[in-house]
Every structure is written in C-alpha cells, then in structure tokens.
C-alpha cells in the first residue's frame, strides 16, 4: 500500500535514481516485514508465550490454512457487503452531487445533513441501525454512510472546476444544460470522482466491519469482523489474527484495483496519470 501512496517524484529527484535504488525501494519494506515476522516468532518462542495470549506468525498462518473453509466464507460475506456499500456510495454520491449541481435549492437544503451524517461516528450510529433495519441492510447502510461523503464532495468539487473558457465555448455554441453536463462537467469531474471512489473503497470496508462488530454482539452474521468478535469471546486468538490479516489484504486489494482503474481511465489525458517525462 505504501508504494501506491508515494507521491510522484519530481523530475529532479527522479533523474539520479538508479535501477538499484528503485530495487531497494521495493526490497526494503519486504526486508522489514520479514524481520518483523522473525522477531515476532522468536519472541513468542523464547518467552514461551501461550497462543491464547499472543500466537506466533506460524501459528497464525496455520490457522489461516486450517480454518480456510470458515474464513473464506466470511471473507466473501464481508467483501459482498463492502461491494454493495461501495456501489451504493458511489452511485449515491455522484447522483447527489449532480442534483446539487443542477439545483441550488436542493444543495442548500440537503448538504448540511450530508455533513452531519459524515461527522457523526458511524460506530455510534450502527447499533441504532441494527435495531430498525434487517441486519444485512443495516450493514450495507453503514458502509454507505461512511463511504458516500468523499464521493459527494469530490464530485461536487470536480463539477465546479470546469475551465471557464470551455464553459464560455459551450455557451457560444448553444449547448443545452444536459449537453454541458454530459460533455463538459462530467468529463472535467472524472479525475475528482475517481479520487473520491478510491477513498470510498477503503471506507466502505471500514463501514462494513464496524457494522459487523456492532451486530456481532447480537449473535447473528458471518462476516470477517463477526469472526474476530466471536473468536475473541472464545479466546481463539490465532483466528482473530488470521481474520485481521484477511481484512487487511482485502483493503489493499480494493485500493489497488481502484487505483489501477483510475490510472487506466485517465492515462491518455490527465496529469495525474502521466509519466514524469511529460
């Protein structure tokens, strides 16, 4: 994840960077990871720490393999919830932003509530949602609540960042509202929308996990977060670690896929996706 988030180097910085240095940038985090795992295993073995206090990485890995039938089903459940929440957030955020852009009245009436929804911690809303909604719906709504706002605000920003001269040109050629929206505002906003979706991907996973944890005490559900909560009650610590590992991996994959999509969509024209030589 860290390599994806690294800001692009300026040409000045990039020039002296040799092939070896680039290799080092990939190798170093791997070495750190390996060293961390080795130290972890060593500490567990040397101090004879029992697995219900702190399992070693080998024990965690063995649990991951051994419990794979249970864990993989949970992973699928969580991924499905995340995906549904993400889709709802993406569609909801973009549609709301488009409506706000077309009608000032609507924007003034509703935008404050979007902010309120965003700033209220979702962990505090989740138990209430679980009371009023069926569990599966409540989980998706949670994922939606945390994830839609970055899409909404980024899309709004994008729709308002249209080149003034281009807007004048569209006016000169008598473009209708819908034409201006479809051919000018949406393409201008696309890089912003993709940025919002990239944030929303990670957030919808968080939303799904929060709701599952909240629901976990109620005893229903089968997602990864529910497994973590359940394993906690049973002092099955290795399984907690294994489930956590899967959640983390899921987050990385989601981010990577969205970053890749964004790159593929923008690579022909947008500065953010262009090589340094340009």
């Amino acid at each position: 994840m860290s390599s994806l988030q690294t800001p692009p180097l300026s040409a000045k910085q990039a020039a002296p960077e040799s092939r070896g240095l680039r290799l080092l940038r990939i190798l170093l985090p791997i070495v750190v990871l390996a060293a961390g795992i080795a130290v972890w295993e060593l500490v567990v073995r040397l101090d004879n720490i029992p697995p219900y206090v702190l399992p070693g990485p080998i024990a965690v890995f063995r649990t991951l393999v051994g419990d794979w039938p249970v864990l993989s089903r949970s992973l699928l459940t969580t991924l499905q919830t995340t995906f549904e929440g993400f889709t709802a957030a993406g569609v909801g955020g973009i549609v709301l932003a488009l409506l706000f852009n077309q009608s000032r009245w609507l924007e003034y009436s509703l935008f404050p509530y979007a902010v309120i929804l965003q700033v209220t911690p979702v962990i505090a809303i989740a138990p209430l949602l679980l009371i009023y909604l069926p569990q599966q719906t409540a989980v998706i709504v949670c994922a939606w609540i945390v994830a839609f706002f970055p899409v909404l605000s980024n899309t709004t920003l994008g729709l308002n960042s249209v080149d003034r001269n281009l807007a004048g040109l569209f006016g000169l050629y008598g473009a209708s509202r819908m034409q201006t929206l479809a051919y000018l505002k949406l393409p201008s906003a696309l890089p912003f929308i993709l940025g919002g979706l990239r944030i929303a991907g990670g957030l919808s996973l968080i939303g799904a996990v929060v709701a599952e944890i909240a629901a976990g005490s109620a005893g229903a559900g089968s997602g990864l977060a529910y497994r973590i909560a359940e394993s906690g009650y049973r002092l099955n610590i290795p399984r907690m670690f294994a489930a956590l590992l899967l959640l983390s991996a899921a987050g990385i994959v989601i981010y990577g896929l969205l970053a890749l999509t964004s790159h593929l969509v923008l690579r022909r024209w947008h500065e953010s996706a262009l090589g340094k030589e340009n």
Binding site: D163, N165, L166, L169, L172, W269, N278
Partner: protein, 271 residues
C-alpha cells in the same frame, strides 16, 4: 447569453455589413467602465484588427460581438446567413488559450460545435476532416491535446472555429502566447485561409506588427474605457507574404500605427 440583434436585410446584403456596433458601452458589475461608447462597422469579408494596450476593452468588444456578454447600452448587430441557422453558428470564436477539452482527441474537439448542434454524423465527419485539412492537422486527428505543441493546439482551436463554416471569425489574441517563428507561420496560414474562405475576421491583438501584417484596417483603441482613437487602412498588394513583412511599406505602416497607439499609453503609470 445575450443574443446580438440580427442586422436588417438591407444592411446585410452582399456588400453589406457583417458587424455593426452603435453606441455600445460595457460597465462591469464592479463598476469598471470597460468599453465605449463605441461605434464600429465591419464589412463582409473584411479583416479588421483591434489594437490597444492590455485592459483597453478590445477583448470585451469581441465578447459582446460574440454574444458572450451583453452590452450595458447600445446595440450590437451581427449579420446572419439564414441557411446557417441549422448548422449552428454564424460566428466562430478563437480564444487566447487553445481552450481544448483535454480528455478528447483532436477530432472530437473539432467536432464539438457540430455535436452540440446535433449535426448528422456523415456531414459532421466530412466537415471535421475538411477543417483539419484547412489547418494542416489531418495526420493528428487522433492525438490528444497534451501531445501537441502550442502552435498545433492553436490550429486545433482554429479548426474548431471553422468547422461550422461561420461567416465571422472572432479571434482574441490567439497567437499571443506563441513563439515568434510559430506565430509568423500561423499569420501566413491565417491570411491564406482568409483569402480562400472569404470570412469576416475581427482580430484582437496588442502587437503593432501583427495587426499591420494581417489586416486591411487597424483600429487603435484607448484604454479605460476603451474607445476608438484612430483607424489606419493598410493598402498593399494582395496576396501578402513574407515579402511584405520585410518591405519599406510595412515599416512605414508600423510606424504610423505605433504613433497612433502612443497616446493610448500617455498618462499611464510606467509598466
């Protein structure tokens, strides 16, 4: 959008006026008087330059003619050719910046005015190809704007203005940001386009040399608010070319226009 009034049939006859401004003023919301009152007549097929210091309202005048802004008072008349209403626009506008859509190819950028006017696809394809050929960019139809040089981007912008086959071409300091060599080439290409297509061109510039080289008539403006201060006809043998640029007559006209421009700068803080 402020629709300029259509000129009456008698004015817009074959030898009539393309653009007519009468007592036009523009005062911006901030209270700045940008223009006028200004009277200006441009005949059909004429190449006229508006020349003046920056901030003299020449761009404002152009935007009023295009209908991008409404005048505070006075009337703006623009001749309409009836056959052209369906195809889109009697006016083509070239901005100071190329103003291209970065997400679209050259072809799609040039096609935009036709797309907005719902022109039939076959006709649009033919017109786009023709416009690209006119500016010498046929090979670059599938390139993206960022892959082009500054001069080529400006050519795309010009092709887009030409694609609706407008009668009037309004150009707002289009070559100001280009290097001199590129600018000279585009000047020559613009002149040959004008000769071949017989458009009315109103060209805003702050370059004395460019205005003399290109136009039949140079209108010198004073600043704040912009008014006409002098009008110089450039009478020389057509077609013009690089010979004209190095001729004594050209030098003479440049001197004349420069001295007409001098009062516009008088009393201004040194810049």
């Amino acid at each position: 959008m402020a629709e300029p009034t259509a000129l009456s049939e008698t004015d817009s006859g074959p030898a009539g006026l393309a653009v007519s401004l009468r007592g036009v003023t523009k005062v911006y919301d901030s209270g700045v008087a940008a223009l006028g009152p200004m009277d200006l007549d441009v005949r059909k097929g004429e190449f006229v330059s508006l020349l003046g210091p920056s901030g003299c309202g020449k761009s404002t005048a152009l935007r009023l003619i295009a209908g991008l802004n409404a005048p505070t008072s006075g009337t703006v008349g623009v001749a309409h050719r009836p056959a052209q209403v369906r195809a889109g626009q009697p006016i083509g506008f070239v901005f100071q910046e190329p103003t291209l859509m970065p997400w679209a190819t050259v072809r799609k950028n040039v096609r935009l005015p036709l797309k907005l006017a719902h022109a039939p696809s076959a006709e649009a394809n033919a017109r786009v190809a023709e416009a690209l050929q006119q500016v010498g960019l046929s090979e670059f139809a599938d390139a993206y704007p960022r892959e082009l040089s500054g001069g080529m981007k400006m050519r795309v912008s010009l092709a887009r203005a030409l694609v609706t086959d407008p009668d009037i071409l309004l150009m707002d300091e289009p070559f100001a940001a280009l290097d001199e060599i590129t600018r000279f080439r585009l000047n020559n290409d613009l002149l040959s386009l004008w000769r071949n297509l017989r458009k009315t061109v109103i060209f805003v510039t702050h370059s004395v040399f460019e205005s003399v080289y290109l136009s039949q008539r140079v209108i010198v403006m004073t600043s704040r608010p912009g008014r006409l201060s002098a009008e110089i006809r450039i009478d020389t043998a057509e077609p013009r070319g690089e010979d004209f640029r190095t001729s004594a007559a050209y030098g003479g006209y440049c001197r004349e226009v420069s001295s007409a421009l001098a009062p516009s700068y008088a009393g201004r803080a040194p810049s």
